[in-house]
Amino acid sequence: MSLALPLAQAEPVIPDFGRGSSCERNDDALFCWSWVKDNWSDTLQPALLQHIALTLIAISIGTAIAFALALAAHRRGWLTTPVVIVTGFLYTIPSLALFQLLVPFTGLTRTTAEIALVSYTLLILFRNMLAGLAGVPAEVRDAARGMGMTESQLLWKVELPLALPAIFAGLRIATVTVISLATIAVFVVDEGLGDPIYNGLQQTFSTELIAAGGLCVLLALCSDALLVLIQRAISPWARAVRR
């Protein structure tokens, strides 16, 4: 974290390092575009990329774990309740408290942040995957088996493709949730958009807070839109016009 120190105006020999734009010195504008321009490459852009990385890692690991759990629960129905109880419990722990609980074991590291983020995705992803698999009509399963599909062919060729819209609905909620939650990862690790947001909160100059917060919202909206587009591309049948 670096603090923006106002530079003395009377010393023109000191080079401008990019942090002292004019509106920051005047300190009366709510939002200052030139500050954003000056600080894009060394503050906002790295934070944004870190934020994307935090989100991608959390969603990937969360999806992998939830997928394995959902497949197991789909085969053996009795697993559903214990999985829902455990992931539901994880979901209810306040995020700051979870960081506190983890720090003694994993320290102030990215791992701590990721464990917390992943644990918040599990319930959403698991429930949606299971609902998607359970939503496959019984007659479709019967026909698939009756034509000679093995259980794994049934899963990969029929059940999973049909569960995709529900799985993507879960992915969208989980992704938006993680993007917003990842800002508080700043309490354990100096990564992501949480860093400039935290920074902005500690000063009267509001541009940094607004820019970083805005980027976070924008990232969430874009990710959501991207997921919608992917889902449409891989399940064109879901939008086929009925007659």
Binding site: E139, V140, A143, R145, L162, R242, R243
Partner: protein
Amino acid sequence: MNSENTAQTEGPKAYPSAAPLEFRHVGKRYPGADRAAIEDLSFEVPAGEICVLVGPSGCGKTTAMRLVNRMIDLTSGEILLDGRSVTDRKPAELRREIGYVIQQIGLFPHQTIAQNIATVPKLLGWEKRRTEARVSELLELVGLDGGLGRRYPSQLSGGQRQRVGVARALAADPPLMLMDEPFGAIDPINRERLQDEFLRLQSEIRKTIVFVTHDIDEAIKMGDRIAIMREGGRLAQYATPDELLAAPADEFVAKFVGADRGLKRLTLSHLGDIELADGVVVRVGDAAAEARRRAADMSVEEVVVIDGGEKPVGRLPVARLNGQPVSADDADPLAAIGGRSTSLRDALSLVVADRNRPLVVVEDDGRLAGLVSLELISDALRPPGQ
């Protein structure tokens, strides 16, 4: 429906013919159940015939059908497909050789119609080109436009979906088809059309078919043989539709086929199946005296008048023959005309509606074929062999 016999004679591979099916003392008992679901079921279906399993709900007809492709495993006896016990086969492998059609059809909503039909060929690892050729052949065979292949099931009507279901079951040209109430969810008008289409299709492809229904009229219409089942999975009677209607084995069967079984039997025969009466036929322009003499010989009150092309033009009461040559203007026009494909039931209805006067029957080209009277129709109702 297109009637080219492509499925049997063309294509990248010689298609296997139909296979006989045999149930030998087949039983199914679920663990913990005090009664068997299927008890000592034995019957044979010759290759290429439709065997209808029919009975009240809970009689085990669907269970019996599902034992064949091992969707349910039997607990005693054996089922032989082409002489080989189905329990010796791996279920998935066996099922790929048996067409499967269910009432709800179960098309895959996420696949196009063409992909749906290609399901079994893909499972069997057919080449892409061969599969594509087979898919378009099948769409044509079941009377669907080739352009529908790119649509999704949700974009089709119920009748079209049912045809796709049949095409999908036929894709790998299986020697046996299992059909569980395939037309049960279709409205009556379309159901009748699909039944007719399917019978026409079957006359081309000649598959062995096990067809499950709860509707005795559908059973009589579709079946070469009918297995009537009763509660507890027991076989009440196994016979051809005609035998079943003429001689029900017991009261259960008699009640199930209905008190109107005589009329139902009449739907099985057509005017082309029975010998028609000649009656007295006079030609336009014949002398009145000659017509009167022939009517008197046969002691009839009416004669049938035909024109120069031997087409019937009307009935002429003998009393109206008054010295002038026979003329079409004097004759009463015919209220109805039967054809060789008219069912005896329809013929009976027409005769009764026309004050029991014999129905005039014509050949396909319109020439007079003969007459059918009430007596001829009731003669046809006598049980076979009497």
